[in-house]
Symmetry: C2
C-alpha cells in the first residue's frame, strides 16, 4: 500500500487482534448472524487488518456491513445452496449473504473438489461484498493448493474510450505456498486504484494520482487531483490511458466478469442489480500437477531470486506480493493493529448503541 | 493494436489467407515437421494474421521459428507426453516442440477433460514459443466453453523497483462465446507493451511511448523514446510505474509464472533455461455451471451494452476485446492480408533457398 493511504501516526490507536476479533464478532451477532458465521466474518476482517490491507479490513468495511444488515440489503441467515454441480465445479446461489462469510465456505467446496479430481471451481451469484479476495485464495494455499478468487461488483470503472461506468473494480487474487519463504499472495483491483483506496484517501486527506480517475466526460485526469465527490469522477481501468495499457485493465475486468458473472448464469450488476455481486473461487491441487515438495522448493527459489533482484536507482529493495503483508502481520500480532481514531469513535458509538462492551484499546 | 504498429500503406503487399497458409505449411514441412503438424502451425499463424494480430502472425514470427528449427532449438518431431494426470488435470512434457503446434493439442486434452468432469487444466514444460495465446483459448470457446491460456517466457521485464529482468512478458488470454455478437477474445501481455510490438515498432520506425520501458538502472522512461538496441532497456510491467500500478502488472506476470511454471514442477526460464517455456491451458465447460443458451444470451447482452457505452470526449466508439479482431478477419478474408514488403522479400529468399514455389501475392 502506498504511504499516502496509511493512517497518520498522530491518528493511530492500537488494538490487539484478539480484542478486535471479539468486538467484531459481537457486533455481527447483534446483526442476527449465527455465532459461527459471526466468528468467520470477524476472522476474515481481522486477518485482513493484520496483513495491513486496511482498505478491506475492519476500519473501512465493518460499518458498511452493519448498515447493510440493518437496512435489509444483506441476509444474516442466508439459505445458500448449490444450484448446479459437476465433479470439479459448483454454482452457488448465495441468497444475499455477505461474501466475507460465504467466501470461506465456497472455497472449502472448491478445495474438496480439487482433492477429489484435481481442480475445483465454484461460482456464486446473489452474493454481497466479498472482502479481500486474497483471503479466500490463501485458504487454498494453506491446503497445498494454488488458490484463486475474483469478484464482480457494482459499476464504477469506465471501459477504455468510454464515458459511462460499466465494470466493477473487479479484483483478482492468487495465492501459492512456499516452503521457507512467506507465501505468494497477490490481490489487486483491475482498476488503476481500488475503490476502497479512494475511501482511505478521503479519510487521510490524500490526493489521487495521475491516471487513476477520469472526468465525467471520460477523459483521464493526468495530474494529481483532490478526491472529488461521488458522481464527479469515474474510475479508470489499470493502465489509465489506452497508450499506457488501459485496454488491458478493461479486459482483465471483463475476464473477471466472465468467470464470476457469466459462469454463474447471470448478468453484470450494472444490467441486473437483483442478482447481486458474483464471485469465483478456484483451487488447483498441486499434487495433481507435480510433487508438492518440488513445487514449494521451486517457489522458494523463485521468490528469493525476486527478492535478490538488484534494486532500481533510488529504490531500497524488490518485493513480491505477500511479503509486506507477511511482515506486517508479524509486526501487528506483536504490537497491535493501528486504527484511525475516527474508527475508534465509530466503535464507541456502535458498541454503545448495541449494548456491547466497548472495544479494548492497547 | 495502436496505429503506430500497423504496416504503412505504401509498404503493404496483399496475400490471400489460402496462399499464405499453403506457403507456411510448405516451409514447415521443409523443417522436417509432419504434414499434419505443418498444417496446424500454418493454421494458427495465418488465423492470427487474419485477426490482425500481426505481432504474433506470420510476418513477425515465422522466420524466427524457421531459424530455431534449423539451429536445433526447436524439435520438429517432439515426443510429447503426459507425465502426471488426474480427472481434471494433466502435466505435459513438450519435448522442445513449438507451442504454436502443441498448443491446440494441449487445449484439446483440456476440452476433453472439461467435457468429462466440468473443468480441464493442462500445464506444459519443455515448451517453445506458443504464438498468440488467444488462439488456443478460442479453441475452447468454439466448443461452448470458456477458454484460458497463458505462457511464461524468457525474462525481459523488471519487477517493480527492480533493475534486472526477471519475468517474461507472460501473456494472459480468455475467450468466451456469445450468440449473435462476435466472441470475447482477450489476449494481452502483462508487460506495459508486448515484446513483439517492440519488434513491429522497429520495422515500421515508431517510437516507444512513456511508461513502456525502463533504462538500464531500472528507472521508468516517462517520455517518448526511440527503440533502443537490445540490452539498453528493460521492459516495464503493465502500469509502468508503482503509482500507476506496475505492482499489478508485476503480480499478474507472477500469477502466470505460478500457473504455468510452478504447476509444471519447474523453475522460471531465468533460473533454468533447459526446461524451456511453460504454458497453461484451461477449459471451463459452460454447461457444468449454467445453461449454455443463457450464458450466450447473457454474453450478447453484456457485449452489446459495452459497445453502446457513451464514448469519451473525442473518441469514436467503445470496443470490447475481440471485436476489432472479428472485423479485421472479415475484411482480410475478403481482401487479403497486408504484409510488409520486407516480409515478402524474406518469403522470396526462403522459398528460393528451400526449393519451394514462391508465395503468391494478390
Amino acid at each position: 500500500m502506498l504511504d499516502r493511504f496509511k493512517v497518520p501516526l498522530a491518528d493511530q490507536v492500537h488494538v490487539s487482534d484478539a480484542a478486535l476479533r471479539q468486538a467484531v464478532a459481537a457486533i455481527f451477532e447483534k446483526c442476527n448472524l449465527t455465532p459461527e458465521d459471526a466468528a468467520i466474518g470477524a476472522d476474515v476482517l481481522v486477518t485482513t487488518d493484520l496483513r495491513g490491507v486496511e482498505s478491506h479490513g475492519v476500519s473501512n468495511m465493518l460499518r458498511s456491513y452493519v448498515q447493510s444488515y440493518q437496512n435489509g440489503n444483506y441476509n444474516p441467515r442466508p439459505n445458500w445452496r448449490i444450484v448446479r454441480e459437476s465433479p470439479s465445479t459448483a454454482t452457488i446461489d448465495g441468497d444475499g449473504g455477505l461474501g466475507v462469510i460465504l467466501g470461506p465456505k465456497a472455497m472449502r467446496i472448491a478445495i474438496d473438489k480439487a482433492k477429489a479430481v484435481g481442480v475445483g471451481i465454484v461460482t456464486m451469484y446473489n452474493g454481497r461484498h466479498l472482502g479481500a479476495v486474497g483471503h479466500h485464495a490463501m485458504l487454498a494455499a494453506q491446503e497445498d493448493m494454488v488458490g484463486m478468487c475474483m469478484t464482480a461488483t457494482q459499476p464504477s470503472v469506465v471501459p477504455t474510450f468510454g464515458a459511462q461506468t460499466r465494470l466493477g473494480t473487479n479484483p483478482i487474487a492468487i495465492a501459492a505456498p512456499a516452503k521457507q519463504q512467506p507465501a505468494l499472495l497477490f490481490d489487486v483491483a483491475t482498476s488503476a486504484v481500488a475503490g476502497n483506496k479512494i475511501g482511505l484517501a478521503t479519510r487521510v486527506g490524500s490526493n489521487l494520482l495521475p491516471g487513476w480517475v477520469a472526468d465525467t466526460e471520460g477523459t483521464p485526469i493526468m495530474e494529481e487531483t483532490p478526491v472529488r465527490p461521488r458522481g464527479q469522477y469515474f474510475q479508470l481501468p489499470l493502465g489509465g490511458t489506452r497508450e499506457l495499457g488501459s485496454h488491458k485493465g478493461y479486459g482483465l475486468a471483463l475476464m473477471v466478469e466472465t468467470l464470476c458473472t457469466m459462469l454463474s448464469g447471470t448478468l453484470p450488476f450494472g444490467l441486473e442489480r437483483d442478482t447481486g455481486y458474483k464471485h469465483f473461487f478456484a483451487a488447483y491441487n498441486i499434487s495433481a500437477f507435480t510433487d508438492v515438495d518440488t513445487f514449494k522448493e521451486n517457489m522458494d527459489q523463485m521468490l528469493e531470486w525476486l527478492r535478490e533482484t538488484k534494486p532500481a536507482a533510488g529504490q531500497e529493495r524488490v518485493l513480491y506480493p505477500g511479503l509486506l503483508e507477511y511482515e506486517e502481520e508479524r509486526e501487528r500480532r506483536e504490537h497491535g493493529i493501528p486504527l484511525h481514531k475516527e474508527v475508534i469513535q465509530w466503535f464507541e458509538k456502535i458498541t454503545n448503541e448495541l449494548g456491547l462492551q466497548p472495544l479494548q484499546t492497547l
